[in-house]
Symmetry: none
Subunit: 140 residues, 4 copies
């Protein structure tokens, strides 16, 4: 049947597992974070804001996850010439801030993780810990 | 010192405990839900979206929690004449949809819970289960 | 109880005291200003717009205060590569314009001040005068 | 000269005087309020949020003042058939919630006051106390 296609998508249980791994990593790094996990469509599945993280990172962490789910690659690598235009053209829904990573299983994006409140590199490291918790998943 | 006042605020641990109780209740009721827990200022602390719940309830559940945090009472009791005007005057940030409840400890709002995807009464019932999980808390 | 944490928050009286100090400073400098004082969650507590200041600074002054409350540091120090992306990813809620300062008491952010209409350095100077008016407070 | 016209506008000092009268009235009534004072163009001049008022009323109080400045009459009297359409057509900038009153001197609107967090009638009563504090002013 070519009218429909079978896809794989992160469950709430999977999202919570990734979230727990991100929280453990952030605690080990002593960097309080906002952590968002979305499905393949960029819609929020699970979220946590740690004591001492930035309130406004609720939005940026969510935007990072949404962007990674949509683009299917980690955030932070869009050409400088293009990144601001993309953010503007989508009303801020897309961001190239580091810290958004897709969750990829067998070549398919099943969800994404966005982390914010640390440096871009810290955010990315915490997000990758979440991907590592999902069996058979990579961040591309 | 009267420049500042001492207040109590829900921690992430407290928010996660409330969220877990809401999830358990929703599962027992067999009603998939979106569940948002905020601090006293209406900023998101923890969130979960169950399989089979409505994607757009991400926003309404969050709005319900924000409204309960701000108004300090359960949502759903604003006069019909006023409720739509309040929603419009706040850009949709306030809602009178049932399912938002404050978490009150010793007369002080420390956070709030918003639930959406079921009927208003189901949403409220799930939210109240979250409040009951917090020691010494009531929903007013 | 670990479900909640005790925190300190600026009162309206404290916010008005800080605001009055900012106004006195701006008058002494002969620089008309917009001045916003928020609580620790970035929500407005007190505001004043002086004769001759810029109408649009109502929004930028408020954004500066909100940013300082969230980030817990003075605005103006975010890396140039990141600042525009942060503003876009939060729908303009975060700004790196100089003139936003947190009000910190015993290591805790209790509120923030944002000032706009002068140069960045003038704005910051006026905001710092507000922090100095709060007993035991520093701007980090 | 017909290219320009001379108008009267509320100063910051005038706005602060009205604000102080509103605060005194709200305290006497034991109803915590958010109070916004704008100029004749609907732009914020002075603002205060009392302990125990609703965070989300920051926006509704401001919208009420803006509406009264623009329409030159007290809010709450627009026909039910029209009020929601007006709110929608202006993106929520106009509201017919009670509690917005113009400050009129010699037939000219010089500013406006918006109050929110109580009932509509309480909000209006507090706003009127602010108008009464301005010499020669009425609320129409």
């Amino acid at each position: 049947m070519t009218d429909t296609v079978s896809v794989r998508r992160l469950t709430l249980a999977g999202a919570q597992k990734a979230l727990a791994a991100c929280l453990a990593k952030a605690e080990a790094m002593k960097v309080p974070q906002c952590i968002a996990v979305t499905d393949d469509g960029g819609h929020l599945l699970a979220f946590a804001r740690m004591e001492g993280s930035k309130v406004m990172s609720i939005e940026s962490a969510t935007a990072k996850a949404r962007t990674a789910a949509s683009s299917r690659v980690q955030t932070g690598n869009v050409h400088a010439e293009v990144e601001i235009k993309l953010a503007l053209a989508t009303g801020g829904k897309l961001t190239n801030l580091k810290g958004g990573v897709p969750i990829i299983i067998e070549g398919q994006v099943v969800g994404a993780i966005g982390v914010g409140s640390g440096t871009g590199d810290q955010d990315r490291e915490v997000a990758l810990a979440g991907v590592a918790a999902i069996e058979g998943a990579s961040a591309g």
